[in-house]
């Protein structure tokens, strides 16, 4: 499944009238696949609810940007608020769904998406940890394997954690997994049969039901 197909797949699982935060990068594309009739409301952590699509041309307003600092638009029924209120909204568990990218997710739902732990890296976390622990459901969108073929769904994260046990579902190019205290389960396999994915992951040391 390509990234856009995957974004559409995630969009299909977001219940109507949900309040949703879409992380920077791949998750942002989910917005393009939400049915405008669904009543899904987008939150951006820099202080807005009911964010609209990306702004182009004359509609670009330097005072109206998303968390990725890209110009966006405002939909009717929008509200603006300051950073402390915006993150209170997240930390307080008021968002229904948050969709994030990841370097690694563990079978029990640990998330690593802020640092690869490289010794010379400049640490930078932004809102990643707030998003990880804040939403009622945290979905991750990622490829199942990195460019070097190493699995990103793992028995336990080797990269520094963003949040412990916070992810409930992982959407990958190969399959959708539920993760949590009971471990990882294939919820839906796309092009390859589930059994084959299980075998492939078992070879990396990860048992998936």
């Amino acid at each position: 499944m390509n990234p856009d197909q995957l974004a559409a797949r995630v969009a299909r699982d977001i219940p109507p009238h949900s309040y949703v935060n879409l992380g920077i990068g791949l998750p942002t594309r989910v917005a393009d696949h939400l049915n405008p009739e669904s009543g899904v409301v987008l939150h951006t952590e820099n202080g807005m609810l009911n964010m609209g699509p990306a702004a182009t041309g004359d509609r670009i307003d330097p005072d109206l940007i998303n968390a990725g600092k890209q110009p966006v638009t405002e939909l009717p029924g929008a509200a603006y608020f300051h950073h402390a209120d915006s993150f209170a909204m997240m930390r307080g568990g008021h968002l229904d769904v948050c969709v994030l990218g990841a370097f690694q997710v563990s079978a029990t739902g640990d998330l690593a998406n802020w640092s690869t732990g490289a010794p010379d890296a400049i640490p930078a976390v932004g809102g990643a940890m707030d998003l990880a622990i804040g939403a009622r459901q945290v979905f991750v969108m990622m490829t199942l394997f990195d460019k070097r073929g190493r699995p990103k769904l793992v028995p336990s994260c080797t990269f520094p954690l963003t949040g412990a046990g916070c992810v409930s579902r992982v959407y990958t190019d190969v399959a959708v997994f539920d993760v949590g205290p009971e471990g990882a389960v294939i919820r839906e396999a796309f092009d390859v049969p589930a059994e084959q994915i299980r075998d492939q992951l078992a070879a990396t040391g990860l048992r998936v039901r």
Partner: protein, 219 residues
């Protein structure tokens, strides 16, 4: 309250001050005040802001001028944060990384007279190392302390003559919390309006939090 220039607005900021700088990316960034602070010359500053500067302007220019001893922020590393990156790798600036919401909440705590708070964000991660932690209601929390500023430099859309402020769209970001967290709050606004011209129901920062206002042109 209303001062004549950005230079007047930043007069008296002492070496070694903790300076809260509003803005998220370029939105809400008080460029005029930062430029004035560079001219003013205060050095050895601790800067608290979401980022650590873009390109060669604003915070990046302040860093480049060698005035900043420490940065407290959530996300220093950006595609165009080369000034900070270089200083950091050369060991010329100290860095404290704080999750974005915890940064906002620690500023709020300073303004709201809260001594410390147990926060779930970052519990069990590298950023919680060395911090007091506690499990409350089955959830792990980290004890976080207020961040107080000697000075806040923020940008707003409109001010009235009493210092009441309104912001514009997502340029609001850190302005209202930083205004509460500093001993002296200095604001660059798009325009100053008559007292009574702002809707009392829509004032975001009441004038009690504001010390100096300069009519600047937002970038």
């Amino acid at each position: 309250m209303i001062v004549a220039s950005a230079d007047d607005a930043v007069a008296g900021i002492a070496d070694g001050s903790t300076v809260l700088v509003g803005g998220f990316g370029r939105a809400g960034m008080p460029y005029g005040l930062i430029d004035a602070l560079i001219r003013q010359g205060a050095t050895g500053l601790t800067v608290v802001s979401n980022n650590a500067g873009n390109g060669d302007t604003g915070l990046a220019a302040l860093l480049k001028a060698g005035r900043v001893a420490k940065v407290i922020c959530s996300f220093p590393r950006q595609t165009d944060s080369y000034v900070f990156d270089q200083l950091y790798r050369a060991g010329q600036v100290e860095l404290e990384v704080v999750p974005q919401g915890t940064l906002a909440e620690r500023l709020r705590a300073a303004g709201a007279g809260i001594g410390a708070f147990f926060c779930p964000t970052g519990a069990g991660t590298l950023l919680a190392e060395g911090k007091e932690s506690r499990t409350i209601d089955g959830r792990d929390h980290v004890l976080e302390y207020p961040i107080r500023g000697d000075v806040a430099l923020i940008q707003a859309h409109r001010a009235d003559g009493m210092g009441n402020l309104v912001y514009r769209k997502t340029a609001r970001n850190f302005g209202p919390v930083m205004a509460t967290a500093a001993t002296t709050t200095i604001v660059e606004v798009g325009a100053v309006v008559e007292v009574g011209a702002l809707d009392p129901e829509a004032v975001v920062t009441p004038g009690i939090y504001v010390d100096r206002v300069v009519n600047g042109s937002p970038a």
